[in-house]
Amino acid sequence: MSARRVVVVGAGHAGFTVCATLRTMGWDGELTLIDSDETLPYQRPPLSKKVLAGEQTLADNHFRPRIFYDDHGIGLVLGHRVVAIDRAERAVHLDGHPQLGYDHLVLATGARPRPLPVAGADPASVCHLHTADHGIDLCERIAAGNRVVIIGGGFIGLEAASMAARAGKDVVVFEAAQRLMGRAVSAPISRYFHDLHTGAGVDVRLSSTVSSLQRVANRVELRAGQDRLTADVVVVGVGVVPNDDLAAQAGLGNSDGVLVDAQLRTTDPHISAIGDCARFPRPAGKQPAIRLESVQNASDHARHIAAFIAGEPPSPYDVVPWFWTEQHGRKLQMAGLTAGYDRTEIAETEPDKFSVYCYAGTRLLGCESVNSPKDHLRARKQLAAARSAGAQSAPAVTV
């Protein structure tokens, strides 16, 4: 590929990693990284962990200091929003900044918290946890409050619950589904973490939906079924929505995320999309395309597209997804995607150290490990080996 001008929209893990990788690879074209946030690019995982615990500041979580961008010839355009992509001219139009021409455009626009579709869920009453400002705001609100209500028993909500419980707060978690983290993990893992939260004093309410919120003085009154509850802080973590509007306006294919091919290119070959905003095909072919929200996915997508821009021969993206979360001092590491499993095997080495292997028939879908990093790494390798074996014997055989 002969791109000399690359523009990257979005300075999260995906966008930052594209730029850093291109320079590490020795690519010497013109490189610009744009973000509507004025803050020097930073990483998000610590926001719901060490930042929320008050153990790290935002300054600790910048990917690199400003001088790194100067030294590596990465033009930073911060605090300006891209308002349109002119595909014919190959240029992006920005709010309050001259337009920027590109040979290749990388959309790493990420996602935004899904709003809670409940009356009264306005910014004065509820907090999200997605940006640095959210993290700092929430840390202060939790410190000042007593009862913390979390709406949504997924990773973000439960990490926040864990931190609030550790700070000695009275914590209630509402989860609409029948088990915690149900979209992402197997039933045994949901049960284990449910017990862990309950044991730490968190009031976990499953199959429970908040129907209204009302601000009363400095507190928020909630209704969930017959229950009424008053909270000092309400945290909403009910998933995210991909930032795919820009791509849609430009006429690029999208469907709950920007659609990309196996090379991570959109329906315009001069534009790729990576990280949380991209919906990409699964190597097995038969399963529907997916969108993943994780550091690993963002970083691996970024390295893949950087190699392509730097002139390496195009290859299909094929990496085993992995994720992690930390709650009440337990580390959960997940390799592969376990949704749709029909059988689990549990390997326990000692109490609080175990792995759940999830299968569809005889095929290993993934492995979820609690405080067992060796199992996790072994499973990642095993899943990767199974993929490359599958790729050699096309069409894929399902046992």
């Binding site: 893990h13 990693t17 850093a20 990788t21 590490t24 990483q43 995982p45 610590p46 962990k49 060490k50 300054a59 600790d60 979580n61 910048h62 990917f63 690199r64 200091p65 001088i67 790194f68 030294d71 550091v295 690993q296 970083s299 390295r303 992690w324 930390e326 580390k331 590491q333 405080n371 990093p373 060796k374 996790h376 790494l377």
Partner: protein, 108 residues
């Protein structure tokens, strides 16, 4: 403040004051040292902040957790007896003057 020296694979050395309690990974990043990625944010989850320490320093370093030990099996550059994850090493008086060597590669 404790001093930490980072040595690139080509021998280039840089020494910085790193605040007590801050990890050598964050210290490297905040000074823009190339070659330490720290992709997981310092949680011993990714093995992209791999460094080699000097053998004489092994005894004064904090013991290695099971997690760090497991992740070091997954580094991009060869694991040696002196391999550590720099996110698990905190700057402090005991480590004042420590020298760490960066590997050729961090990401797989």
């Amino acid at each position: 403040m404790p001093k930490v020296t980072y040595v690139q694979p080509d021998g280039a050395r840089e020494t910085f004051d790193i605040a007590t309690g801050k990890s050598l990974m964050l210290g490297a990043q905040s000074h823009g040292v190339d070659g330490i990625l720290g992709e997981c944010g310092g949680q011993a989850m990714c093995a992209t902040c791999h460094v080699y320490v000097e053998a004489k320093d092994l005894d004064i370093l904090p013991p290695m957790s099971d997690e760090e030990d497991a992740m070091l099996e997954d580094t991009a550059s060869e694991r040696k007896p002196t391999s550590r994850l720099s996110c698990q090493l905190e700057a402090g008086d005991e480590l004042d003057g420590i020298v760490v060597y960066l590997p050729d590669e961090q990401s797989l």
